[in-house]
Each structure stands twice: as C-alpha cells, then as structure tokens.
Subunit: 277 residues, 2 copies
C-alpha cells in the first residue's frame, strides 16, 4: 500500500517506524514542521515528506492522521477533494462520539474513515519520542460506524496487529468515550491533581518511592492535546471523576472515624480487583 | 557484625538477601512462620533462624525489625531483657511520630534504636517477593532522636548505602510523617479509590493503557499493614487528601465551565513539576 501519515508526532512517528519495519509499504509523511520531516527522512522511516501533503494524499491507499481532534477536522476540510477514491483514512484520537459526528459531516463519500484509538503513547511529544516499541502488547480500539466496509475494518485490524498491538476491540463511540474517561482521562486528571497538590515545603524528590513516581509519570502532559480530549468528553469524564471522588471519600471517612474494618475492606477489594486485571 | 532480622517478609527478606551478598556479616532470621525460616535457610540468606528469636537477639550487634508498627511494639515488650548491651535496633516502618513516642517508652536504655524508613517495597507481601533489587537507587529516611549516638546513625547510613540505597536523608519524625502522607500514603489511597471506582460495566482490561496500569499497581495493597499506616498518620494523611481533592476540584471546575485556559494552565504546571522531579 501507499500510506501517508499526517502528523509525525509521537504517535504518527511511531506508526512510521513500525510500518517502515514491515518493509511492505511505501510510506510518506506530512507535518507542518519542516524539521520533523527532515528528521523522519534522515531516520529512513518515510520515503518522502512535505509540509503540505495533497500530492501524497492523492496517491495514498491509507491515510493515518495523527493530529489533535480539532486539527483533523481542519485537515479533512482542506483535503476534501484530495483523497483517492476508495482510500481508507484512520485517526488515533482519544475521544470519539462528538468527534465522529463532526468528522462524518466532512468526509467525502468515496473514502472510508475507520475511527481508531491506539492505547499507547508517551508522556512526551514530538518525533524525538516516537518509538515502535510503545505499540508492543498494547490495546487498539476501533469504533466502527454504519458506512464502514468490513474488509477495510479487517485491513486496519490486521495492520495494527502486525505492528505490535496485541488486541483489537470494536466498540461503539459512546462506549468508547465512557470507558476511556475512566481508564485514560481520569488517571491523567488524578496525576495532574496529585503533583499540583504538592505544597513543596520539602525537597519532594528525596522522599519518594516508586508509588509517587508511577502515579505522577503522566502528569507531564501535552496540555494542548489533553485539554481538547477532556473538554471533548466532558460529561463522561465528570461522571468518572465523581465516582472516584466518592471512593476517595469512603477512604477519608474510614480514616476520620478510625474505622480499621472499613479501611481493610476497601483495601481487600482493591487488591482483588488489581489481581484480576 | 552479627545481625538478626526479625520478620522475613518482603522487606526483611530483601534485607537478608542484600546483606548476605556483602559476605561481611553473620545473619540470623526470626519469623513467626516456620515455612518462611525454611525458605530463607534454603536460599542461603540466613545462617540460621527460628520462630522465636531470643537466642539470636542476645548475640546480635544489629537487630533489623521488619514488622508492622503494632507488632514491633509487642516485640520490644517481649524482648526488653534480651538485647545485647550497646546493640543497634532499627525498623523499616512507614510512620514515625506517634510510633517513635510509643517505642521510646519501651526500649531498654542499653540499646540504640535508630528509626529508619527504606522507601522501597513491593506491592506483594512475603519472602517470595523479596529481592535485593528493590533497594537499588532508592531513598532511605532516618528520623533521629536525641538519644541516638552519631556513630550508630552513621553505621546504619553506610550499611544501607552499601546494600544499594542511593540517598539517605535525616529528618524529624514530624516532617517525615507529613511528607510521607503525601508521597506514599496519598498515592496508595488514590490507587485504591481509582480501581474501586470502576463500575465494571466493561471488560476494563481490554481498554487500558500504561496510565491506568501505572496508577493502580499499588492498589494491590497489604491491607493489614496499610490500615495501620493510614490510621497511624491520620491528621497528616487527611490534610494531604484534602489538598489533592482541592486540586482535582480545580480540574473539575475547569471542565464544567469548559475553561480551556485554566485547564491548560493546570496541565502546564503539572508538566513543569514532573519535569523537575
């Protein structure tokens, strides 16, 4: 296939690396940053690239868009007439329901947009942090809509399994956003709140173990992307935050009441759940 | 030195392994569980061991107690007359202020109790999960009191640096408990609340990335130990939980008000803090 990757950031760049390794496809890159294109060429992970990609897109069987949700919509608008008939487009966006509804209004009918979400990433941004290793063993989610062709969904499935993902699941955009608000966005909100609640009275770094390190790793967050993701999944995320707050309040109440029995019960429950994971 | 380790669980067992590797000391083990003693002997990490340790303790220059806070106090009471004159005792307890006050009332005056806290551990318990590797590069905290001899404090410092810890800090018990409530106990409370807030509508495991995995690792918690640690540091932990709740509410408010600017600001702040860590 001729594949164009739009946005050679940490995810797009990782796709280029992983796909390039298969040595089965002709890969092109599009990125607004000329330096990024040069780096990708130097790494040999794209055959060619440029900052505005209509030429590549016209020839591509598959276009992988690794941009922020709002930027994808702009990109689709600008390139409505540029896609090859029958091409597959796919994204890597962490929110789906509202985004898909908006995107479906723009997509030309001669292409098939398969909405996907690789559950892999790095806390840093940019091609310098791209790595095909992040995909190894990770989950991939597809949120099909009624215009998708089964053969194209299967094609994307096979491709992502080939580049290292271990599991592909199909779910509705609504389910996707609900569960992602819990498994991905809530942890990010927690990590940010945890590190921001540091009163910095002490030299924190000298007093931490793995637990604090683990819980704050993702606090180094891409602020532009994640504010879009949070606001684009507002209601689900608020619900997830509130369920979490209820649980934290149960722990707090048990401490206030010096209720060892309730505390032990909460800890046992969490232990069983983690073991099951 | 002749060293007796009391409690060959994950921390005591790791001490036995790490000390044994130095090949400089004669190491004995005490554990209520006969099977644990047999395992430790089979591993060759103790010279001998038994379920009640007064014989070893009488001869030991250093006694490392790897028990829960309440069990340490019982152990001290039972062995008040058994310690060698001039021996050093040390603990590995995660809370200090109240605990030290209680312990100082029991400790015989001919021994020097150096209170310590290795900031290393495993989420699982028991000798099967002991490993000298967990100490590598970790922080060690000492909370000296006015009866400690400087030479004994230095002796413990050198010893823990020798078995892999990278940094030893001395702080007051009050400071210790304050900062530990934030860097260690709060993350555990969060991890437990996070996994317990899973509504389990979906097969969660298929929808997680590294973030959820990282944030819930420590949810597999030793319920007996951690309920003691939480309740033994009640006021500090409640304060840390509340500061965290304030920060999480700031994120929540920004989402409710669709206030992208505030959200971005909170994310930038957390990124800078994490980078600094």
């Amino acid at each position: 296939m001729i594949i164009t990757i739009v946005g050679l950031g940490v995810i797009g760049g990782s796709f280029a690396m992983a796909l390039n390794e298969l040595q089965e496809h002709e890969i092109y890159g599009v990125d607004v940053n000329k330096e990024t294109i040069d780096k990708a060429k130097k790494l040999g992970i794209i055959k060619d690239g440029c900052t505005s990609g209509s030429d590549f897109i016209r020839r591509s069987d598959l276009v992988i868009i690794g941009l922020y949700p709002s930027a994808i919509l702009n990109f689709l608008k600008e390139n409505q007439g540029n896609f090859k008939r029958g091409a597959i487009i796919t994204d890597v966006t962490g929110i789906k329901e509202t985004f898909i509804n908006e995107a479906l209004g723009i997509i030309p009918k001669e292409v098939d947009f398969i909405f996907g979400h690789p559950m892999a990433g790095r806390e840093k941004k940019g091609i310098d942090f791209a790595s095909k290793e992040v995909f190894k063993g990770a989950n991939y989610l597809l949120t099909p809509h009624n215009k998708n062709k089964e053969e194209n969904l299967s094609k994307i499935e096979s491709l992502v399994l080939k580049i290292g993902f271990s599991r592909v699941r199909r779910i509705t955009p609504r389910e996707h956003d609900k569960i992602i608000s819990f498994t991905s966005q809530l942890p990010h909100a927690i990590a940010v709140a945890l590190i921001n609640s540091d009163k910095e009275e002490f030299d924190t770094g000298a007093f931490i173990g793995d637990s604090y390190r683990d819980l704050t790793r993702i606090a180094n967050i891409n602020e532009g992307l994640w504010s879009e993701l949070f606001l684009g999944n507002k209601d689900n995320l608020l619900q997830s935050i509130e369920s979490f707050q209820d649980q934290l309040n149960s722990i707090k109440d048990a401490i206030i009441n010096e209720d060892r029995e309730s505390l032990t019960k909460l800890f046992k429950e969490s232990g069983i759940r983690r073991e099951k994971l």
